[in-house]
């Protein structure tokens, strides 16, 4: 059983980690300007691309323009989350396997998966998260949906489930660097495939829809949370998302334990 004191200790350490990484990153204030500019340009470009699908009053996979904005908003939010936590931390994991400093992490009196997943926080994804959230709000209001408390709660829950699935995908990929040392390119593949989540999953042909709800669960990352907020989610997809999130987290945990048994440190 996990003891309360252990959780408290981990929480305190993570708060320290994050405040120190924030302080370090604040040395590069020009970066903030660059990141905000880049985020705004990317969002403008994505909105433009999305708008092309709605020319001549058309719909995309049964979604209206306003509803599709919610999907794009959640995609932007998750992208910002990836740059804030997933990419910096899991990139480090790969580096630590390569350089052998993973040994020191394993010796720390802290859970190694938690340490590796939450050690740093890069604030440069925060503008993207805020813009994504704003887009979700704008899209929801303009689509005419008036989500009540249960719909908002389901939406938040589905978003958390999406984050759990996204985290597990990244972590599993990074953890395989224990076996395949040079894995970082594979994250580029993952990133490019996740870009499919910018659009509602019903816009894709049937075969891809199946792929996106099973092997590469893009549907649960953006479409299902958007449906939940708009009050369109079916009970089946909500349950499926929660089950998948639970399995992904457990799976990432199991894989990490298994990987550590195979870990022989660098140069040995």
């Amino acid at each position: 059983m996990v003891r309360i004191s252990t959780i408290r200790r981990h929480g305190r350490s993570i708060a320290r980690f994050w405040s120190s990484s924030l302080a370090a990153e604040m040395e590069y204030q020009l970066n903030l300007l660059i990141e905000v500019a880049a985020t705004l340009i990317t969002l403008a470009g994505s909105l433009f691309t999305l708008s092309l699908f709605f020319g001549h009053g058309q719909k995309l996979g049964g979604w209206s323009w306003e509803a599709a904005l919610v999907v794009l908003g959640i995609y932007t939010l998750l992208n910002g989350f990836s740059s804030t936590l997933l990419r910096p931390n899991l990139g480090n994991l790969v580096k630590q396997v390569q350089s052998g400093s993973l040994d020191f992490v394993l010796l720390k009196p802290m859970d190694s998966q938690i340490w590796l997943s939450l050690r740093t926080l890069s604030p440069w994804g925060l503008p993207e998260m805020l813009l994504g959230l704003a887009l979700v709000v704008v899209g929801t209001i303009r689509s005419g949906a008036r989500p009540d408390a249960p719909a908002l709660l389901t939406g938040a829950l589905m978003l958390l489930a999406g984050i759990a699935i996204l985290y597990s995908l990244w972590f599993v990929l990074a953890a395989t660097s224990i076996w395949f040392v040079k894995i970082w390119n594979a994250t580029e593949v993952l990133r490019s495939l996740l870009a499919a989540g910018q659009f509602p999953v019903s816009a894709y042909p049937a075969t891809l829809r199946v792929v996106f709800s099973t092997i590469l669960p893009v549907a649960f990352l953006t479409t299902v949370p958007a449906e939940a907020i708009l009050g369109l989610a079916t009970g089946g997809s909500v349950v499926a998302s929660l089950v998948l999130a639970g399995f992904s987290l457990l799976g990432s945990r199991a894989l990490w334990r298994f990987a550590l048994r195979h870990y022989t440190s660098a140069s040995s």
Partner: protein, 262 residues
């Protein structure tokens, strides 16, 4: 002349051997360029595509061509150069009696050769999955498309090389590469054929160098309507701007070079 050819051959062969060692990595990079095929699957079913009068078959050909062109126009010189600079590998390379740019250019061409079998496989797979899209471009169009794709590669190489030269002034010049990639992503035609863009945006895009890197060769290869003369004129204008710019930056940069830590 023969000695230049000999150097070019030696450079290419050695870089090709080097790239073959990294073929698994290159396969992963190649796989990360699947965006055009994803966009094909969206556009072929989107009512907006049909409303604009573009058939699913035309989309299939355009995006397959775009996928192939993209594979042979990927440029990463800024990352390679920055790493060489930061790790101090630049100094011995600069001593060689050969302008550095040729080494990086040869590495890019060798990488393209490494991608070739993968691209052929993907095209075959695509035609097997979407047989109604299979086509053979006319010889003229094919030749023009190959020329346009190769010139498009040089355009993106020179554009990124100009940013690369800023490595002589800053340690993190690669951060600026995103500001090239973003306009490329939205203006090159990677996400939608430019014919679907509103007229004003399309005209603006065609003034930039980005459609020359993708839209022009893809449209030529897939048999779509294109003003090839105007397209190649844009390429020529941008080459005429970028070649002198790169020379000026290179000369100024090398004069400033003091090795890492110096």
């Amino acid at each position: 002349m023969t000695s230049a050819l000999r150097i070019a051959r030696a450079l290419f062969v050695s870089q090709y051997a080097l790239m073959l060692e990294f073929r698994a990595e290159i396969l992963l990079w190649a796989l990360s360029g699947l965006m055009p095929l994803l966009m094909f699957s969206l556009w072929s079913g989107a009512p907006a595509g049909a409303a604009a009068g573009i058939s699913p078959q035309a989309f299939a050909r355009y995006f397959l061509a775009a996928f192939v062109v993209r594979q042979f126009t990927v440029v990463w010189v800024v990352y390679a150069f920055e790493e060489d600079n930061l790790l101090g590998r630049l100094s011995p390379l600069l001593l060689q009696p050969l302008p550095l740019v040729w080494r990086y250019a040869a590495a890019h061409l060798a990488e393209q050769a490494t991608r070739l079998p993968f691209v052929v496989g993907m095209v075959a797979l695509f035609f097997w999955a979407v047989p109604e899209a299979a086509w053979i471009p006319s010889p003229t169009r094919l030749l023009l498309a190959l020329l346009a794709a190769h010139l498009g590669f040089w355009l993106s190489f020179l554009l990124q090389h100009a940013i690369t030269m800023l490595c002589f002034w800053s340690e993190r010049a690669s951060a600026l590469e995103r500001f090239l990639f973003m306009p490329y992503l939205f203006l090159s035609g990677l996400l939608a054929p430019l014919d679907l863009y509103p007229e004003a945006v399309r005209r603006f895009a065609l003034l930039t160098p980005f459609p020359s890197m993708l839209y022009l060769p893809a449209q030529l290869a897939s048999g779509g309507a294109i003003d090839a003369v105007a397209g190649f004129r844009t390429v020529a204008v941008w080459l005429a701007v970028l070649i002198p710019l790169n020379l000026v930056l290179w000369r100024a940069g090398v004069r400033r070079y003091a090795a890492m830590g110096g």
